[in-house]
Symmetry: C2
Subunit: 430 residues, 2 copies
């Protein structure tokens, strides 16, 4: 873990960005290869999807839609008790996300002027779910439950098939629990292309959510505009602000839980207590040896772990806000009092019992969070990502007459005389 | 105007898309040229901005920040009464957008489990404002007022200089009225690059909003991820649903007001009344001759105007929802009763007095709207585009113990034993 002693005047945004930046996977080759896949699926539909699945996943599928029988079989293959745990997670996620639902409204702002917003769910949305080693049923719940809470009438999922042509049973069980009935065994850029453009057998969607590898991320970037996308997820990170009152073993374990995700994951410890920091570091080294994914952990810790030594809480949170971490743990005495100091973070975990993995699985808020500093300008995935609204504008005759000359004045100042004329033709007729 | 008689069984989404699609400006050459500009500004900062402004705008600026004196001078150059109209527009926009502001909340969902959302304005945002022929003070208000309502502490604007090195006085007056104090005379892709990466003299922003030409749109697309962006605006359109009870002259004028924007603008008339439609078409032909921008209008009408002849209101709104128009006018008797039939539209203008240009300037809702069918998955620009939130999660000891075994079960099912360990280390210590 690299140590940085923060000077009294703090660090600039530029300094913090340089200290926390990571390698980026996007390359011109990935773009060229993904562009070719998108074009192929757009032009050749199902045949392209089938051929690309054969090429990249090594399986030949005559029908790439998951059948009801496959879902029923998956339910018999999962661990005992798993279905109940998935249902409890689903209920917690639904309860939290219910708070995000928006209602339509219309209100009179001025005499004769009624304005409002009409909310509607997006009519058809697609969720990409990674397969292989990163097959996470929690992601299925986190990405589809908000769509159902939003009221989306059509929620479709796509995920790469395994070598045996089947989907991980935990993934199918999570889809079952969430209520997703239309599931395809198509991964990678071809999965994104199938959702964005549609094929002979698959209707296109209007928006795509969900994480994926570099090819999936590039495909989402390239179809953005044709469809909406949730975000381009970068490498993730956790940031702990803790002092000597915290248990170093617990903090170390939390940091490792983020490091195991990815060689490009980053962990940040921000503390006013150097001795405590050293204890965390020792515990990290010791605990890493016991972890299954210790190679990944050692790699990400070696490259991207940083400890910032600060003097005051204000200094600590200044660094936090410049990092804009995906996950922020505050393990200081009376942690809630520091909330007003947090400006940029994806999710904030307060106090020693709120270990970050609780939020990954069971708490209820979404675990799809802005990564790599994008929390400075974006929010967790939510119901708002699966709804949209129209403005509603209603003027009566008197209100129209009161405003007409001003609208004409502005339109003519902008050189748009057809705009002015549309108002004038009504104004003249009285 | 091309006429389409909608068959009894309706038209498919694919059919409607084919009938309403327009040429797209994005090209590989634009991408290559914009990429080079972004790289140049990123590496060479102010010097690159200065050189590119010389190259593209033909002016040499030692200092590209607009001075207080320039703003004061602009206020003396605008038409009498213009400042008051701009202020009234600002107040109406602010009043409507105030309704969109979100407050932070925390609530107990289960015993010992408190969850919430902490809202914050984005700390620094940039707004691009086009210059030249498309220098619209209304755009300044529409893009910056919501940022101020959101509470953004730093709102910066950039716009191309004219040949004389000055900015259009109406643009500066609108910025003054809105409260923008940091304004740069930098246009095109170099303006976007300056905002996204910063230079020696300009701090980078976290999010960029505002329309622009093909170079600006491509630059926004390419910096997306480094910063947030509002949307990629495509060619715009208006859709009128009207029957014989409407005044064909008024409908024609409304359609022309959209057509004058751009050769790629589209206008759609959807009606159950062929005779009425013919009257609208005749009025459009007649009125076009009187308009200043008749070349643009003739071009966009010639290429992209369509009339859909339907049997029932349900049929009309089925076409509307498949078009997902930026602007929708409903000029049928008792227009409000059709609101429940509208699923996809950027802004809905109800009744004969609510001519679309009212919404462009004075009504209050934003005129920056999803174009080219993107209203199927996105919303008008709003305060929510200038705020973001963090999830807040707080468990007490008892709540932690109740959930810990379930979290461990899910983490282990996903092969993430460091996640399970972070929970276990707390669970074991009791």
């Amino acid at each position: 873990m690299k140590w940085i002693t923060v000077p009294e005047e703090g660090l600039s945004l530029r300094d913090v960005r340089r200290l926390t930046e990571r390698s980026v996977n996007l390359s011109a080759e990935v773009e060229a290869s993904v562009s070719a896949i998108l074009k192929d699926v757009r032009e050749n539909g199902d045949a392209a999807v089938r051929a690309l699945t054969e090429k990249f996943d090594g399986v030949t599928l005559s029908d790439f839609r998951v059948t009801e029988e496959e879902i029923e079989e998956a339910l018999t293959l999962i661990e005992p008790g798993m279905l109940d745990v998935l249902k409890e997670a689903r209920d917690n996620i639904a309860a939290f996300h219910q708070e995000q639902k928006k209602e339509s409204w219309i209100k009179e702002f001025r005499p004769g002027v009624r304005l409002g917003e009409q909310y509607e769910p997006i009519q058809r949305v697609g969720v990409y779910v990674p397969g292989g080693l990163a097959a996470y049923p929690s992601t299925v719940l986190m990405d589809t439950v908000p769509a159902f809470v939003a009221g989306c009438p059509s929620v479709v999922m796509t995920t790469p098939p395994g070598k045996d042509g089947e989907v991980n049973p935990n993934i199918l069980a999570a889809a079952y629990v969430s209520g997703v009935k239309e599931i395809y065994k198509v991964g990678g850029a071809q999965g994104i292309a199938m959702l964005a453009y549609g094929t002979e057998t698959v209707e296109p969607v209007f928006k795509i959510a969900g994480p994926g590898n570099a090819f999936v991320a590039m495909a989402k970037r390239l179809v953005f505009g044709t469809v909406g996308i949730d975000m381009i997820a970068g490498p993730s990170e956790v940031c702990c602000v803790a002092d000597g009152s915290a248990n170093p073993e617990w903090i170390a374990a939390d940091l490792l839980s983020q490091a195991e995700h990815d060689r490009r994951a980053a962990v940040f410890l921000i503390t006013p207590d150097a001795d405590f920091g050293k204890k965390v570091e020792e515990a990290m080294t010791r605990q890493t040896k016991e972890r299954n994914r210790k190679d990944i952990i050692e790699s990400s810790i070696g490259d991207y772990a940083k400890a910032f030594l600060c003097q005051t809480p204000e200094e600590c949170f200044d660094i936090v806000n410049k990092i804009a971490p995906e996950h922020l743990e505050i393990e200081l005495p009376d942690p809630e009092k520091y909330l007003p100091l947090v400006v940029n973070a994806g999710a904030i975990f307060l106090g020693k019992w709120t270990s970050e993995p609780l939020g990954d699985y069971m708490a209820g808020p979404n675990h799809t969070l802005p990564t790599s500093g994008t929390a400075a300008f974006s929010s967790p995935l939510g119901v708002y990502d699966f709804m949209k609204h129209s403005s509603v504008e209603i003027y009566n005759k008197e209100a129209f007459h009161a405003v007409a000359p001003k609208v004409m004045k502005l339109a003519l100042a902008e050189g748009l005389d057809a705009h002015a004329a549309a108002v004038e033709v009504r104004y003249n007729e009285q």
